[in-house]
Symmetry: C2
Subunit: 248 residues, 2 copies
Amino acid sequence: MSGPITVLPISGIPEIEAGADLGRAIASAAEPTDGDIFVVAQKVVSKAEGRGRRLADVEPSPRAIELGHDLDKDPRLVELILAESVRIVRDERVLIVETAGGLICANAGIDSSNVGAAGEVLLLPEDPDASAQRLRAEIGAAAGGRVGVVISDSFGRPWRVGQTDVAIGCAGVRPVDDWRGRPDRDGRELAATEIAVADQLAGAADLSRDKAAGVPAVLIRGRPDLVTAEDGPGARSLQRPRDQDLFR
Amino acid sequence: MSGPITVLPISGIPEIEAGADLGRAIASAAEPTDGDIFVVAQKVVSKAEGRGRRLADVEPSPRAIELGHDLDKDPRLVELILAESVRIVRDERVLIVETAGGLICANAGIDSSNVGAAGEVLLLPEDPDASAQRLRAEIGAAAGGRVGVVISDSFGRPWRVGQTDVAIGCAGVRPVDDWRGRPDRDGRELAATEIAVADQLAGAADLSRDKAAGVPAVLIRGRPDLVTAEDGPGARSLQRPRDQDLFR
């Protein structure tokens, strides 16, 4: 469908601590209605799920110490990265890994920007699709209808400068809008055919969010066709199977 | 800044032929105002710039014939891809190249979805940043103010399924929103710091565009802070320098 889309940062969500009812906090701050899509920042999901880790509690392995030395990185952080990973993809300059959840990203997605005095870093949610499913149930109940949830994080990319937000979890949103075999208006088959809409939703949400203002969730209105009755395949379905990937 | 963003597909743009005044057509169909960002699909820019090529006019080289055979691709199309490229990045299953313009993408970005009876394919604009600059001047004149222009195309990515739209050209838009060194609200330095906003604008625009309806341009309102007085560094600045790239 073709039509206007509105991207609305949700203000008024209180500071989220471990154990907080994030879904209720988002639903209270927004006025969710049927067909809305909520893009929630990974950081606040990780916080609510108690994924903070204190570097002071981490005992680095010899391997973490060696890698940390090579990469000029805190070996305790490297230890956490390795514990979250199943494979190192690159360890030149940056540490790019495949996480246990199948994501390929720098530092296993561990957020160490706000380490602060407490020396606390944030791991990714353990199962971001499951997190999205829980949030969807909570926000959907408040909406009295169908909503979609995307959990977003900022990833770098090969070949291109800078980060864009992508979907690391989703529920109730079709992650890929599949046009394969559908004709265009002249009746010819389309070329760009598998559109990673969940990633584009994450990126659109990020545009509306002031990084410094700490807006943890964004509401996107105008694509109710992407919102599904079921939780669906989740963002995991956006992970390219290894045997079809030319770049790892 | 944090605030609502509106993504508006521009309807009523007539069919664009080679030589058409695309900037004027877009400006007439929209009501541009100061601070607007226009995301224009590569395809319509290529059409206006006469970048269509008839396969019947192409004489494939022995190398194109061989590659075409290996990849099950029309050797005349392969010939055009090679002519647009400076380097092959991968030639297993798909042909991923570095174009003369520095983009890394499948098939040198050549659009062969609408080959049709005439056997015509569309090359990328020769210099998409220059195309964006021309469009910006034309649309800006109609707006009586500052506008930004992004030229978008759908690219696949390593590791992840599906395509997202990225900026292959831009003018009057800051391509990267650079937060390096800027503190967050707690006064701590931010981690995700170089945000490829031009790519996120392209992706956001794509969400509002029905592929089958042929909407060639989208207006994004709500980020006038990204619109600059000068044309700026363009989307070329989003190309990661080769010596900093771990994946080619």
